[in-house]
């Protein structure tokens, strides 16, 4: 029944060149929404269409994009990860703790370098991802519940780490190994903010993994038909665990970027980020049932949400209307998607037939 939607989600699979062109156009729907939004805001707010603003916009998008890219794998396996926002908050707090409080080993306190702090942060967040994955894949807890639990646990842990306080002055003192933390979020490379480069790197990595590695294929297989994937010898639990770990690592990345941008780690950072990330994934055409979608889609979805948020602020739309508009965009985008793919169910068979190779 999903032949069409699934074909659309990977148009490179279609044979006939004319059919392929039409389908690529249909697929470009998410791009189209993005393009229309950009056009609209550029027209309404003159300051919108400047290189400077674009760099800022991309920096903002980077946050939800990185989360959404990590989430994509989880959603592709048929799961969901509600804990990313809390994990981002916890990640920032761990880094903040290490940078300001140090690590005490055998009674003496060490103030480790930024590199070590980042490493330890990733290590802890990896553990949370592994916990999520273990609960879902081995214990059999529903993903929504497992990650809801870790959402609370991680947030509580973040608050306990500093007793609710903010870790300040993460920029550090010059000429010490622990300076340089602000580079992550604040520096530029080739006039592009570092977070945008991080987003690009995460995207490139994820897109490559999804398309070119056995693991990527296994993710799609597990989400598409878990029984069949298991029977084909794919270790579905392992695939799931790795997906949750990747999602948590992306969240850690986000936590570090934000802490670095603010030069402070705040324990409440990241609240409701998960909703943005999930919305981005779904807007990008990934099905919450698993098996269908793409990393690129999530990136575009994140841009749609980011452009909408920044554009509405620039237009001076009230916060309350921003909320309503966001809700409407989410619902409409997905509803149109559904209606369209239903219409196409009638239309694609003709399309497939018209391409010479498709007949068999």
């Amino acid at each position: 029944m999903n032949t069409i939607a699934q074909t659309l989600s990977r148009p490179d699979r279609l044979a006939g060149s004319s059919a392929r062109a039409i389908l690529i156009l249909l697929r470009a729907r998410a791009f189209l929404v993005l393009f229309l939004l950009l056009l609209f805001f550029s027209w309404m707010a003159p300051a919108f269409l400047t290189a400077n603003n674009f760099s800022i916009l991309a920096k903002h998008v980077a946050i939800s994009a990185i989360l959404a890219i990590g989430m994509t794998f989880v959603v592709l396996t048929g799961g969901i990860d509600l804990s990313v926002g809390s994990v981002a908050g916890l990640g920032g707090m761990i880094a903040g703790y290490i940078l300001t409080q140090g690590i005490s080993i055998g009674g003496t306190k060490h103030l480790p370098s930024v590199f070590v702090a980042v490493l330890v942060t990733f290590a802890f967040c990896l553990l949370i991802g592994a916990l999520n994955g273990w609960l879902v894949a081995r214990v059999g807890v529903a993903p929504f519940i497992a990650t809801l639990g870790t959402l609370y646990i991680a947030r509580g842990a973040a608050l306990l780490l500093s007793n609710g306080k903010t870790f300040p002055n993460l920029a550090g003192v010059p000429n010490e190994p622990r300076t340089g933390f602000s580079t992550i979020g604040q520096s530029f490379f080739l006039h592009v903010p570092t977070p945008v480069w991080i987003m690009a790197a995460v995207f490139a990595f994820a897109a490559f993994v999804a398309a070119k590695t056995p693991f990527g294929r296994h993710v799609y297989a597990v989400g598409g038909n878990e029984r069949a994937a298991r029977l084909a010898g794919i270790r579905a639990p392992r695939v799931k665990v790795l997906s949750y770990i990747f999602s948590s690592l992306c969240a850690a990345c986000v936590g570090l970027i934000i802490a670095s941008q603010l030069e402070a780690a705040h324990p409440a950072t990241g609240e409701t980020f998960e909703l943005n990330a999930i919305a981005a994934v779904v807007l990008g055409g990934t099905s919450l049932m698993g098996g269908r979608g793409s990393v690129l889609g999530s990136l575009i979805g994140a841009f749609v949400i980011g452009v909408l948020a920044d554009g509405l602020v620039m237009l001076g739309v009230s916060e309350f209307w921003q909320m309503v508009i966001k809700g409407l965009v989410i619902v409409l985008a997905v509803a149109v998607d559904q209606l369209q793919s239903r219409l196409q169910t009638k239309f694609l068979p003709l399309l497939l037939r018209s391409s010479p190779q498709a007949g068999a």
């Binding site: 800022i56 608050l159 609710g164 300040p168 002055n169 030069e263 990241g270 609240e271 948020a309 920044d310």
Partner: protein
Amino acid sequence: RSVDERRLIFIIVPSQDNPFFKSEADAASEEAQRLGYATRTEAHDDDAYRQDNLIDAAIASNAAAIVLDNAGADSSVSAVRRATQKGIPVFLIDREIEASGVAKAQIIADNNQGARLVAAEFVRSMPNTGDYAELLGRESDTNAQIRTKGFHAVLDIDAGLKLVSAQSANWSQAEAFQKTETMLQAHPSITGIIAGNDTMALGAAAAVKSAGMKNIRIVGFDGSPDAIAGILAGEMQATSLQPAVFIARLAVNEADRYLKTGSTGAVERQIVLCYLVTKQNAKDYGNFEKLR
């Protein structure tokens, strides 16, 4: 480009569904419009990252100045610095940040002083000995931390008063209502409740009323009209009024002066004292300012 071309003032406050911040934002906006500026009001929900994005939006919108009630003393420094570096002066209202020379002005309601003031009134209204409970704001917010510190600087001196329960109600009326009901059950001996803001104090008052208890002193913080009404009705003892409207107007005027002359004409840190509002003087106060 010359200074005068930019006529937009960005006003960023913690939230727009809290009467205090709402009045503050409205006052700043009205004053700025009176002075001929366009304004835009945004809320950061006490989320330093969202505040960071809003500052970016202000930069991108080419704002003339930013009036900011910030999202955390430590976590707001870099955002304020960035705006300043981009040539947009930032005028902090209500809350301070942990850095000097970054913002053009920090017009601070002295939360510490206000907290001490209302705590002293709380002690005065309580019997010599007694148990009391505390409702804290969202514990990760700087303001919640400053206020509880101020409360305890006074309360802990008094040997007769005993803190039997302290819970966070996250600034929320509904949560304060439930938590107070539960605390009253656990500690029926409670004779006073000190709350980190008026919303929570009103929630506590509703809980006390629904428990049918009398003679429980409740004090809050902010000086919201609802709290003042509560004080007049005898449901609350006192609150500490932060002159938000005054602060907001002052900040906008200093911003205006700075944009025109390059100087605010005042020192960076200006501390504005809070007023104690009790039943005796409650009629003199309204909508976050002294009426008479």
